[in-house]
Symmetry: C2
Subunit: 252 residues, 2 copies
């Protein structure tokens, strides 16, 4: 079989990746400024300052780090796939740890302040997202790292893994926007409608999170930004394409 | 060129389409029950009953009808493409009209009740979604119906049109969830945390909307559910694949 010519780096890719990092980092910084400047900063003492860690951890873990874990396949285009896969799994694990810390912070604060748990749409969506995120991580480990899975099984699972990854990012961002709305209505309901600076800042944070999600989804779903397969991967891909006649990609 | 064998109907497709319709219709009905039973029904008189038309119109127009307009390419697999395209555009236009009515209802209510407009994240996301939805409809008309666009231009635009369509559906559903949270916190903040039936019903509505969006996105992005191209379309598709070497689909 003829070896494919190496695809050149798509000219827009570095700019779009840089823009995604600006959007993601700005979201984390604005969340920190919002909780720090308007709500007294952070602590781990059961007070409202412990609650403040919840939005920060969720935006950092379940949005920014999750997004960057997805993005490694577009950024490290020439690295050995094994290394990129390892980095992908490790960043997702880090995102999971930070997110669990964010969950513990809010449950701990609710316990201290005697506020009921799990009654709001935000909490339902958040719990669903975290559970599915754990499931996706474990399934990823079983399919792509554990020695038991056959190459056919891995190749068949990739499209579903990629779809669920983007769904989880969308759910995380949607849940963050619900959290922003809850926080504003609990704290500044009267002045929110008068365009209080805190409300405007939090609305901008919401739009930045949406923009981050859109850019990530665009980068991941465009054919021209896909990681160029190496000759062995190419050979496998064609093999499975012939077998299944569906053209499912064998790498994300 | 050899004519491709007609692809059989994927066995799960009718069940998944049926499930999407159950989810979408249940969402519309529950929104109607929520506004009818808990908030006094509907009227066009500037009162809170006019506001009640807002959630109903948005869930019917910008979620259910928009979703079904996207779905026609998966449902009418053997119809002439021209007819399916017409149906796609007409359902989207209907969705747009219903959505604009929903927007007028809330602005009219705000005017009567002297409530400021466009201060919340829900309103920012909603306005952004409606404006982008209008732009997507007009661009669709220019690229796919107006006589000026070349076949190459149409074929190049399809992947972006499909991506933006799914983004708009996600934005519509995310914005609906923000609206649900706003409505509950404005009206039943005290009893929401005590699992008041209205709160639970509205949370379930939120989850149904999410499930509708996930199922639609799954149906639209799976290769095996794509509309089988007719011989002329196949010929064009291969032609453009050779030209661009990117394998972009020439039909959604």
């Amino acid at each position: 079989m003829e070896e494919p010519a190496p695809r050149p780096l798509p000219s827009m890719l570095p700019w779009l990746v840089a823009a995604s990092q600006v959007l993601g980092l700005a979201s984390v910084v604005i969340t920190g400024v919002w909780m720090g400047h308007y709500h007294g900063g952070f602590a781990w003492d059961g007070s409202a300052r412990e609650f403040n860690l919840h939005p920060l951890c969720m935006v950092l873990g379940l949005v920014f780090l999750q997004g960057d874990a997805i993005l490694v396949y577009r950024v490290f285009r020439r690295e050995a796939k094994r290394n990129v896969k390892l980095l992908h799994g490790v960043i997702h694990l880090l995102a999971l740890v930070v997110s669990v810390a964010g969950f513990v912070a809010v449950f701990d604060f609710h316990r201290s302040a005697k506020i009921p748990n799990m009654y709001s749409l935000h909490s339902w969506c958040g719990m669903l997202t975290l559970l599915l995120y754990c499931a996706q991580w474990v399934l990823g480990l079983l399919f792509f790292v554990a020695p038991g899975a056959t190459t056919w099984l891995r190749s068949s699972y990739v499209p579903l893994h990629v779809f669920c990854g983007l769904v989880l990012l969308a759910l995380s961002i949607g849940t963050s926007l619900l959290g922003i709305t809850e926080k504003l209505l609990f704290n500044i309901m009267a002045s929110y409608s008068l365009f209080a600076p805190e409300g405007v800042l939090a609305n901008i944070l919401g739009l930045l999170l949406v923009a981050f999600g859109l850019l990530l989804s665009f980068l991941v779903t465009r054919d021209q930004y896909r990681r160029p397969p190496n000759p062995e991967e190419e050979s496998l891909s064609v093999h499975f394409k012939n077998l299944t006649d569906e053209g499912s990609p064998s790498s994300p």
